[in-house]
Subunit: 228 residues, 2 copies
């Protein structure tokens, strides 16, 4: 998503928009003086609750695991940075000179922290309801078009659930090879599907990653088999 | 801490104490039917905000890192389970037969989840302020006697900060040995303090753990040196 959303300032309560806290919320620690780290700590917790609550109400039948996965997909550095860009935060941040010259205005972590700090300062200065309104305005489109909880599951989980759903035997993973030096390991893993009678391979920088890659390959092959 | 606190029921708003949600909040999924997992998801987020907010207000000069460490010390499975025991939650939970027979009433994870579900049901049925009051009542003594943020830092961080404070050179870590089979690795790490001219060793099941053990040993030796 890269839609242009209303400028973040227009979504803030007037008292916050014209208050002193706004400047602090937009100030990275590299600028010195009063910066936004404490507000970010607070805003992160407000954001977590607002999104948890919205998902809880919006999906009354979703099990806890789905709610947890959806929240993780909505609240993370990348999605917060995307929200920041869409709502005009880039270029409004106060950064130290070094940070500015090295492109800090565009850095995901700095943008994400500033969004959380804006939520934090709104909570402090205008209360929970105002912070909720601001957060839900930022997230309106994302909450209106949630990804399927299924698509957020990792490949191993999806593979296991698909096989269980078809009363097939569970997949068997095996490490075939560990290569490379300590800091650059390369794992090769096979996954065998006993009922289907075939297997796939996967590679990755950890055993877990290699298993996920193998499961992903097995899911693709199952899909192709069904389509034939 | 193992103080006996007021029974959790007496801390709940009357509407929740006499409502239907309370039963659900105390019901583990093993009991079947409506259980507390969704309420736990919600309560976890409420708890996170209430504690973040309390620390933010109580420690106006604490940097973000201290707030984060303190929150992690207050909100984790062990401390929630301790709160559950102190406030009489053990023995009140609805569990499936297998879970009950295997001691589920005393299991940390089950107790911790039930506390979060109680916070969640209070939030849902009585609102944010009521959930905040309930949570702060549970946490009253812990918030009144916070550990020092310094003591919550990991040994590597404390060692580095102590050396920096004395204008000493930074410690140098080195892996000396990796032994044992894949699933039971044993790392041996040395830490060398250039300015002091000595080093210490540490062992652990990961490189990180071994480094922390080595740093802990170096901190002890620095302490002894100062006391001589």
């Amino acid at each position: 998503m890269s839609l242009k959303r209303p400028d973040f300032r227009s979504l803030l309560p007037v008292s916050v928009r014209d208050g002193e806290g706004l400047h602090q919320a937009l100030t990275h620690r590299s600028a010195g003086g009063r910066h936004n780290e404490r507000l970010e700590f607070l805003g992160d917790a407000v954001l977590g609750l607002v999104i948890a609550d919205a998902l809880f109400e919006q999906l009354p039948d979703a099990p806890e695991g789905d709610l947890t996965r959806l929240r993780a997909a909505l609240v993370n550095r990348e999605s917060l940075a995307a929200l920041a860009r869409e709502s005009g935060l880039e270029g409004t941040l106060n950064l130290g000179e070094g940070e500015r010259k090295s492109g800090g205005q565009r850095r995901d972590s700095i943008l994400a922290d500033a969004v959380e700090a804006l939520i934090g300062v709104t909570y402090r200065e205008a209360g929970m309801q105002a912070a909720r309104d601001f957060t839900l305005a930022l997230y309106a489109e994302r909450l209106a078009s949630l990804p399927s909880a299924e698509s957020l599951k990792d490949p191993k989980t999806r593979l296991q659930e698909q096989l269980q759903g078809n009363n097939a035997e569970l997949p068997v993973y095996e490490v075939l090879e560990v290569a490379g030096p300590d800091h650059q390991r390369q794992f090769t893993v096979s996954v065998h599907l006993p009922t289907q009678g075939w297997g796939q391979h996967g590679r990755g920088s950890s055993r877990r990653r290699a298993e996920q890659a193998a499961a992903e390959a097995a899911l693709r092959r199952l899909q192709q088999t069904r389509e034939q």
